[in-house]
């Protein structure tokens, strides 16, 4: 799993590349939390999943965990470019109600 970020117009764009499952989750949590704490000057986050090649329900837990941390700082998170299966899992779990999908 590779995670890259950049800030454009006060938006922190995070690109997840690879597979998100129980094996990669601990590192994804750590890397995202470090990014979210050390990056400065953004007011919202866009998670770009266009290069996420695999995800199961463990991914939902990881995303909700980050959402809770950012909610305290009033920074909304948006999701873009989910795969067909990620989309189905997000809809089933109601994730889009707290992290809306944008196109």
């Amino acid at each position: 799993m590779q995670i890259k970020s950049r800030i454009v117009n006060k938006t922190l764009y995070i690109l997840l590349s690879g597979e998100l499952d129980e094996y990669t989750a601990p590192n994804v949590r750590k890397t995202l939390d470090t990014m979210l704490e050390t990056e400065k000057g953004f007011i919202q986050i866009v998670l770009d999943l266009s290069e996420l090649t695999f995800m199961d329900s463990t991914g939902v837990g990881v995303l909700i965990g980050r959402y809770k941390k950012m909610r305290e700082k009033n920074k909304p998170i948006f999701i873009t470019n989910p795969s067909r299966n990620a989309e189905r899992i997000f809809k089933m779990s109601g994730l889009y109600e707290i992290m809306p999908k944008i196109v």
Binding site: S57, T58, V60, G65, R84
Partner: protein, 144 residues
Amino acid sequence: MKKNSMEIKFKALAENEPFARNVVAGFILPLNPSLNELDDIKTAVSEAITNVVVHAYPQNTGYVTMKVTTQDNYVTISIVDNGIGIQDIERALTPFYTSKPNEERSGMGFTVMESFMDKLEVISNGSGVTVKMGKAIEKKVAGL
């Protein structure tokens, strides 16, 4: 009535998850699954294996046995552990139920298996859990 089967046993470790789901995907290739069907099956397998890794063996790491059978265009996958088992299966199958709410789990694993596969059966009789899932692979017309 072409029948085929395989069985493997491996340690219930998170690092074996990609291995397990890719083994199943490779084994069912002769059925000519679509990419979507492969994705569905890999995701369901990953959910079942994750559950063994996360829930079955709280003390010491145990093993998971995975059996895959194909008959014509139908795939059956059994994932078996010898862990602590599930007391209340109905509750476990309920969407959003998790016994680990403090560990960033969403309680959606069984719900994902149910909706990505055609059939899901969960058996627990005191010594571990057997998750049996089935899915029909759509027959493709030759030349299309």
